[in-house]
Symmetry: C2
Subunit: 365 residues, 2 copies
Amino acid sequence: MRKYNVAILGATGAVGSRLIDQLAKSTIPVNHLELLASKKSAGKPLQFKGHTIKVQEATPDSFNNIDLVLSSPSSDVARKLLPEAVKRGATCVDNSSAFRYDTNVPLVVPECNADALKLHHGIVANPNCSTTQMMAALEPVRKAFGLKSIIVSTYQAASGAGGAALKEFFRQAQEYLDHKPMEHNILPVGSQPKHYPLAFNLIPQIDRFFSNGYSREEWKMIHETKKIMLGDMNAPQIKVNATCVRVPVPIAHGETVYFKVADKSATADKIKELEKNAPGVTLLDDPAHQVYPMPHYAEGHRDTFVGRIRPDLEHDDIFDMWVVADNLLKGAAWNTVENGEELVKRGLVRVPKDYYVKPGVNHQA
Amino acid sequence: MRKYNVAILGATGAVGSRLIDQLAKSTIPVNHLELLASKKSAGKPLQFKGHTIKVQEATPDSFNNIDLVLSSPSSDVARKLLPEAVKRGATCVDNSSAFRYDTNVPLVVPECNADALKLHHGIVANPNCSTTQMMAALEPVRKAFGLKSIIVSTYQAASGAGGAALKEFFRQAQEYLDHKPMEHNILPVGSQPKHYPLAFNLIPQIDRFFSNGYSREEWKMIHETKKIMLGDMNAPQIKVNATCVRVPVPIAHGETVYFKVADKSATADKIKELEKNAPGVTLLDDPAHQVYPMPHYAEGHRDTFVGRIRPDLEHDDIFDMWVVADNLLKGAAWNTVENGEELVKRGLVRVPKDYYVKPGVNHQA
């Protein structure tokens, strides 16, 4: 059995620590693991399967002899370093948005479009967290009945804005309860001029705005959905509309998803049956007994939780559902590792071009 | 000028205290004010325009010589006492759901259907909080362009579940920050068997569920919208779909509203212009400068805040907006008092049948 030299790029963040954990629990046979991050984290000791591994500064040469890169740095770092990894023969699964919209880069939620993995040229992209969970929930419906349109409203957790934002949010919550003014320096978007408290509030801005009034997060949900489901980020066959809102929840995004199917033989019961048997989905749908997905259930789990499936009362081809998933796991680390597992399973991790040139490194140990 | 003997029924709750405050700031000429509540609150001293008024136990005879009742008790109490008030000649504006769906009872958001007030037979109903703010925001669009369908997802504050729920929510937030287990005995619905923490969570249940999978809150939004906009709670001309979610915010509900217009000459700019000039609406819509409605802005204000108005990217007759309002003011106390103001302005407060029989009470002082 081939074993893989794996590098985790961006190993010290909230997603990075989960990448290490998900890799440890995965089916990927690991020969050697490099943990890579920025210079300031170099030397930091982290744990992997009971071994201590010191974080290395990520440089182009960090990827010499690496087979598989699981990556969650900033887009700028991904843009700079992943081509270097590819040049050195590695196959990368990247969680940043740097390469998602390149036609040469498959954008993959394994439950949905794992076959697209075979089109990779060294980089596979992970979708945005809010898109990923919606794809896992809607794919069984698309496959069985076809989809004509999707309208989604998100309830997105603070951790989606990064570790510093999450810390700010918790500090604000305590300040509010202590009747103190809430400090706000990061949320909604660190790089934007205005900041607002998220604690006990709702902020209808995730990422910056385009001139058409949509936020970049909303743009991502619209175009990533099309690329994942139809292979083309501007495909007109499925119409998508999204509104993204940051809510005072630490982990796990909620989404109300309203969707129109092509095949009118669809019923809520049939959709529930599909979701019950769908890979990566846990159906929690028994309103009479107050059973439905909530962030407190989803946190720490790989699955996408689906519930509140019901028909629109005035259209026989329209349905509603409520979808919740851990944005740091299904929305990031787990989907990345899951893509890595699929690449391994399908033999799609490239053999580095210098594989036989450096016999000292035993990739197949 | 006619002055009115006013009674506030349910004077001691979160909405009750706001009814007193909104009445004090209103244009209703008050001759005499009775503050009514359950027996256990009787004798409690409350303030109105610098005067101390003691709460009285609400009984049928409390409404003798009352012209106008502003009411926010439980539905059961409303059902029992308001017919007694009507029998005694009073005109009632009721914030409970007891009479909303009676064909003889107008359901009124003054910015939207004030003319329906003239159809009252003693009782005017206030809509559900989540419906009210959506009506204030959508009426300018309906009037100018017609509406074909509405899809709404709500982000509803804890205070909508009552004062005890709000207190529980704040206690849970502190418990969570202290890493203690969160006590949960009330939310999402006090009378239902299961309870979940709301702090740092999302609960997709407001009120109990019907067998078709919709919650009663969702049912209300669908049928109240039809009654307010079309005069018939089952009117098919405007299709409505709603998903209602409780969010960890104390006061002010958010709503993503996706709507289809009849007249395709509508544009986002025209809709913004309408909202800017709409009564009871404050337009906060400048995404480039991070200006949009948030609960922290809306809390304590009478207006409905509207922003993020933009066109759907794939349909020329569909638009999105984000609507936020103080659920205890526009969603309850202020809309009740505003209905009272309209009744007064239009001469629709009935003259009690025993008006001239009891000359000792000077209603016109």
